[in-house]
């Protein structure tokens, strides 16, 4: 404030971009003091450049925007429709929402998406868990409790989005993952030892070999700027955390990233850059892709994860949902018997849940941790059950089993 110019009122500072209007905000990414108009311009332009440089879209493509009603997807819908018009991308944009069936959360946020449909004039398609799987998240949680619910939700959502996209006949799905999300995923993959995911998680386009590729136009956009943009533009979005979700482990990394951002804003971009630059041998094996025998969705196993989980739910054995999938695939009945046996022992169930919690803290969206009831390496240290997850820690996707031994 010491360098106030004479003709200006005290306490005002000029935008360092246009040098004309009063600076209204400090840009979280660069800490430059700029005015609102310049902020909008630079925010939109950066996203435009990302889209161009990475060739995210081709003229004439049909694009579904994964819309949850939250800030990221709302801003994405707004900015994409704006850029599409301004720069003549020639895209047909759609909103695609997944209704997990969570009362008090998704129903409200879907109202927001429905308003967005009108506000931005984008056709909306809603696919619901109830329609696709016959279960709402509310019902699932009633059955399995709050421990592994995110596993179900993540697996189901991934498929639901693909199915919705197929119904809309779109070429690509754009999601609102922002720079903070990606930086967080990079760190989590390091902490977890997952080299295969580490090499993939910074790609701006994913699933090009799958049915419908996904892209992240906000890959380099800071969460704070998205919030700021939504705030100044007075965009209509829904800002409540999922009532079933609070995930301590991810939150932990998130907190760390926020701390980093406070002392060095560019740290988020630096983490993404590191993620892109890691020298990872390209030979990292990916599981061979096939299709699910039951539903036809892509799967590396006989049945896809969603079908395995669903089978457990429908048989009234939700714990099977996170049971051994190879066993299920080769001989489903035997596995269920095994699980039924465990279910009878209440201590076994408690341990099961404890392990579930222990694993759950380490998962990302869309992961399933699979385990079975067989004796193996489990340690009780200070009353807490510890399991050595060999295959998993070695960076392979959990192929089949994490064995659990009930220490009595």
């Amino acid at each position: 404030m010491e360098d106030d110019t004479k003709p200006k009122k005290p306490g005002t500072r000029l935008c360092c971009a246009c040098n004309q209007r009063r600076a209204a905000l400090k840009r979280p990414k660069t800490l430059e003091q700029i005015c609102r108009e310049c902020f909008y311009a630079v925010f939109e332009e950066e996203i435009h450049q990302v889209i161009l440089e990475n060739k995210l879209f081709k003229p004439g493509e049909r694009i579904a925007i994964g819309a949850s009603g939250g800030k990221d997807s709302t801003v994405l819908a707004y900015v994409l429709s704006e850029l599409n018009r301004r720069h003549n991308y020639g895209l047909d944009l759609f909103l695609l929402s997944v209704d997990e069936g969570i009362t008090g959360y998704r129903d409200d946020s879907l109202e927001t998406v429905k308003r967005n449909e009108l506000q931005y004039g984008l056709p909306l398609k809603i696919v619901s868990y109830k329609d696709l799987y016959g279960w709402t998240m509310d019902e699932i949680v009633k059955m399995i409790g709050l421990k592994n619910n995110c596993t179900f939700c993540g697996v189901f959502r991934r498929q639901a989005l693909d199915r919705g996209a197929a119904l809309l006949k779109v070429d690509k799905v754009a999601t609102g993952h922002n720079a903070d999300d990606i930086a967080e995923t990079v760190l989590l993959n390091i902490l977890r030892g997952d080299i295969a995911r580490l090499s993939r998680c910074t790609s701006i386009i994913t699933g090009e070999d799958g049915p419908i590729p996904r892209c992240k136009p906000f890959k380099y956009t800071y969460e704070k700027e998205i919030v700021m943009y939504a705030y100044f533009k007075k965009l209509d979005y829904f800002s409540t955390e999922c009532i079933y979700s609070p995930n301590a482990y991810r939150g932990f990394a998130r907190e760390f990233i926020k701390d980093l951002e406070r002392i060095r804003p560019r740290a988020i971009l630096d983490i993404i850059k590191s993620g892109e630059d890691f020298r990872i041998a390209t030979s990292t094996k990916m599981p061979e892709q096939g299709t699910c025998e039951r539903c036809g969705y892509i799967s590396s196993q006989k049945w896809c994860k969603a079908c395995v989980l669903l089978e457990g739910l429908n048989r009234g054995l939700p714990k099977l949902g996170i049971g051994r999938n190879q066993g299920l695939n080769s001989d489903a009945k035997e596995d269920i018997k095994k699980d039924g046996r465990t279910k009878r022992s209440s201590s076994g169930l408690a341990l099961h849940q404890e392990i579930g919690m222990w694993l759950n803290g380490r998962e990302t969206k869309g992961d399933v941790f699979l385990f079975d009831i067989h004796p193996t390496k489990v340690f009780q240290i200070e009353g807490i059950t510890q399991i050595v997850l060999n295959t998993w820690l070695m960076g392979h996707p959990p192929k089949s089993i994490v064995l659990v031994h009930i220490v009595s």
Binding site: I190, L191, I271, R279, I280, F379, E382
Partner: protein, 454 residues
């Protein structure tokens, strides 16, 4: 560079670990007692376990087995990577903290055993490697009472002189001595250089680098062939995260390997597989004296990262190992191995002794270029972006550009003039840097199938 001399935990940690270990042993004993199992070391099945080490089965060793296990990790790292061979003279970087204390002890033990073998052998074909110890005195940077420093140095002298023979040379060298060849007031120059940095993290990282240069200088002036650092798993885990945060994803894998022969004297990290907690435990079990920390705790990014990793480690006892293992899967560079001995004068017994296990040559030898400040390898596209610095000899990585080099190009010249000569010469004449600059000059006349590559 993961070349910090100081130990892995802030000074308070040592006691904390000790206390926790005791608690652990109690609870574990209780758990096992109730389950009716015998309370014996999992390895020798004869002595009472002391609880130490990271979680899992190996946490229930007795004192001797624990010690052997830890020494085994050290020894394996040394032999598999040909870190120390009979004709070598190794310089142990010693800060006085638990990691470097254990390192000194282990190197000493190894030398002691080699000496015994030598004395017993008939033909005396395998010489015993030499050991020197270097302590870098950083009191000119930190504002400590000179008494404190004197006391610490005195303690270090007594530690080193109390080790059994063979005798070890001790070098106590002030960090500012890296400027000594420039013939100016070293202390003032160092303070000026550090004062020119605005970023706390940048200052810390530059200091770590200067420390390594200082070790290099001592080693090279006194005929040492290896610089041995006590960098442990925990410190590497922190380094992995902080390098990621600083955008050094490309060069990261260069700095966390057992061997780094980018330098004139190769740098080796034999404690790479030993977590700080185990090193602390060994110090307390063996009564190894720790010298009060002379360096302040980390601040800025590095401080944030180490507290983050510390909390993660508390939540899961093998977290640090997992982090290091993840980073270990990144492809190392060609210089992450001890260079081959081509000298035919080297006795054949020595050459035979020079075992190499699992050392694959990785990466191409030729076209690597290096950051002028931190000596980390530059990604190709990255090095072509760098000429935003006015000085052509300063081609720095993006991290150094941000946190070490001055933002204002007009200040660049002055900043470069403050750098120690060792840095400048390396930047100007470093053989690898040279190759690329020569190549640049003749670029237009070169024909290759990679013509589109700049």
């Amino acid at each position: 560079m993961a070349c910090n001399l100081s130990t892995c935990n802030s000074s308070g940690c040592y006691k904390e670990y000790e206390e926790k270990d005791q608690n652990n042993s109690k609870t574990r004993a209780a758990v096992k007692g109730s389950s009716g199992r015998q309370n014996l070391c999992v390895k020798c099945k004869s002595s009472e376990p002391v609880c130490c080490g990271i979680g899992g089965e190996d946490s229930r060793f007795c004192k001797d087995c624990f010690k052997n296990n830890l020494y085994g990790k050290f020894k394996q790292a040394v032999t598999y990577n040909a870190m120390i061979t009979p004709p070598d003279k190794v310089l142990v970087a010693f800060s006085g903290g638990p990691s470097s204390r254990v390192l000194l002890q282990f190197v000493h033990e190894m030398q002691y055993r080699a000496q015994k073998n030598y004395d017993a052998s008939k033909d005396k074909s395998l010489p015993v490697f030499g050991v020197g110890v270097a302590f870098i005195d950083e009191s000119s940077i930190h504002s400590f009472a000179s008494k404190q420093t004197e006391k610490a140095i005195e303690d270090i002298r007594s530690i080193v002189s109390n080790l059994a023979p063979p005798l070890k040379e001790l070098f106590v060298v002030p960090i500012e001595s890296i400027f000594s060849s420039d013939g100016i007031d070293c202390k003032e120059r160092l303070q000026k250089l550090l004062g020119a940095l605005g970023d706390v993290t940048g200052k810390e990282d530059l200091l770590i680098h200067l420390r390594l240069l200082c070790l290099q200088k001592i080693a090279s002036e006194n005929g040492y062939t290896r610089v041995v650092l006590g960098t442990c798993t925990s410190r590497i885990a922190c380094y992995v995260i902080s390098a990621t945060v600083k955008g050094q994803g490309y060069s990261l894998s260069a700095d966390i390997q057992y061997v780094d022969s980018r330098w004139e004297i190769p740098v080796v990290l034999p404690l790479r597989d030993c977590p700080a907690q185990e090193l602390n435990t060994l110090c307390s079990l063996d009564g190894l004296k720790i010298v009060e920390m002379l360096n302040g705790p980390c601040s800025g990014i590095n401080g944030l990262v180490s507290s983050f990793v510390k909390v993660l480690q508390e939540e899961n006892l093998s977290r640090e190992c997992t982090i290091v293992r993840t980073a270990g899967k990144l492809t190392p560079f060609h210089f992450n191995r001890i260079p081959e001995i081509h000298d035919s004068n080297v006795p054949s017994a020595t050459r035979r002794h020079h075992r190499r296990h699992g050392l694959k040559s990785n990466g191409s030898l030729s076209s690597e270029s290096f950051c002028a400040i931190c000596n980390s390898p530059l990604k190709k596209s990255n090095s072509s972006e760098s000429p935003q610095t006015s000085d052509p000899c300063v081609a720095a990585c993006s991290s150094c550009q941000f946190q070490i080099l001055p933002k204002d190009p007009s200040l660049m010249e002055q900043f470069v003039s403050l750098l120690p000569r060792a840095v400048i010469t390396r930047a100007k004449h470093g053989d690898r840097g040279n190759v690329s600059s020569v190549r640049e000059q003749i670029q237009d006349f070169l024909l290759s199938d990679e013509d589109d590559e700049v």
